[in-house]
């Protein structure tokens, strides 16, 4: 390296020499070039002051959020049980959508609480409609037997499905064998 080249060398190359990481050619030239040595001596204190200041400031700066998360993942022990793996997967899936997921869950719970109340409300409304469904359990039946009367020595069997279209009444005139004519299971 010529004298001119050495004196034109940028400061960071001289600083590298101060840190022990300098180019060998520059180091050899410095031994024989007084102006460069003087320049190096001036840079020395300034460089150390800068380094101290930077080190102090770096100590008070928090690590970046993403960097800290990555570091936490690296440091975290690997999940062993299936439950831990599932929880980890679930947390990963949720990610930033956690708030949305909680909102959806809350809405579903609210719906589960309100739906029976609304159903009850509308059911009671329909009961007030003329001829509408009643509370006696035959809301969907097409036929509702309200009353049956027979002469004293006769009995009746009423078959009325809760949701069917047909009701059956059997009049047992009391001769004994009549009841056998209608199928068992009628009520």
């Amino acid at each position: 390296m010529t004298r001119r080249q050495c004196c034109n060398a940028p400061d960071h190359e001289l600083v590298a020499v101060l840190k022990g990481q300098g180019n060998g050619e520059i180091e050899r030239h410095l031994e024989s070039c007084e102006p460069c040595m003087l320049r190096l001596e001036r840079l020395g204190p300034v460089t150390s002051l800068f380094r101290e200041a930077v080190d102090e400031e770096l100590g008070s700066v928090e690590a970046l959020w993403a960097q800290s998360r990555i570091q936490a993942k690296i440091d975290a022990p690997e999940a062993e049980s299936w439950y831990e793996r599932l929880a980890e997967w679930w947390n990963h899936q949720l990610g930033d959508r956690r708030r949305l997921a909680f909102a959806l869950g809350g809405a579903m719970m609210l719906g589960a609480v309100l739906a029976p109340s609304l159903a009850g409300f509308f059911a009671s409304e329909s009961e007030e409609a003329p001829g509408g469904a009643t509370k006696d359990g035959f809301q969907s039946a097409s036929v509702i037997v309200e009353s049956v009367e027979v002469e004293e020595d006769a009995r009746t069997v009423v078959y009325q499905p809760d949701d069917g279209d047909t009701a059956i009444i059997w009049i047992d005139s009391g001769t004994g064998s009549d009841r056998d004519v209608v199928e068992a299971g009628a009520r």
Binding site: G131, E149, I168, I169, E183
Partner: protein
């Protein structure tokens, strides 16, 4: 046996109430007209079902239909509630045996009453509010 419309309304849009008298016996077949009731009639331990008489009436407040039974008795249906205000409330009754029932009948609903003895079988009344 012919069907005779009694108190029938000439307007087609008025719903109709059908009252059919059926003779049920231990043997025989099911009339074609009763084929749609086969499942319900199967609840009776009888084989033969034959239409003896039928009346069709308008399903409106005050309508009535009466059918004379083969045993000289009769069965009558009275509509007590205007179907326009809700379901039809119908009173069905006969004089022999003395029998009376009150029911609500929606469109497509049906009531089958069996039991009165006749000849070798029994009489069955079918009250329908066809769709």
């Amino acid at each position: 046996m012919s069907s005779k419309p009694a108190l029938a309304d000439s307007k087609d849009e008025v719903p109709k109430l059908h009252l059919t008298v059926v003779e049920a016996t231990a043997t025989g077949a099911v009339d074609k007209e009763l084929a749609r009731l086969r499942t319900d009639l199967a609840r009776f331990k009888l084989q033969g079902f034959k239409v003896r008489d039928k009346v069709i009436m308008a399903l409106r407040d005050g309508s009535a239909g009466k059918v004379k039974l083969p045993n000289k008795a009769w069965v009558e249906a009275n509509v007590e509630t205007d179907p326009k205000k809700g379901d039809a409330r119908i009173r069905l009754f006969s004089d022999n045996p003395k029998f009376s029932t009150v029911l609500k009948l929606k469109s497509g609903g049906r009531l089958i009453v069996g039991g009165p003895k006749f000849a070798d079988g029994v009489l069955v009344f079918v009250l329908e509010n066809p769709l």
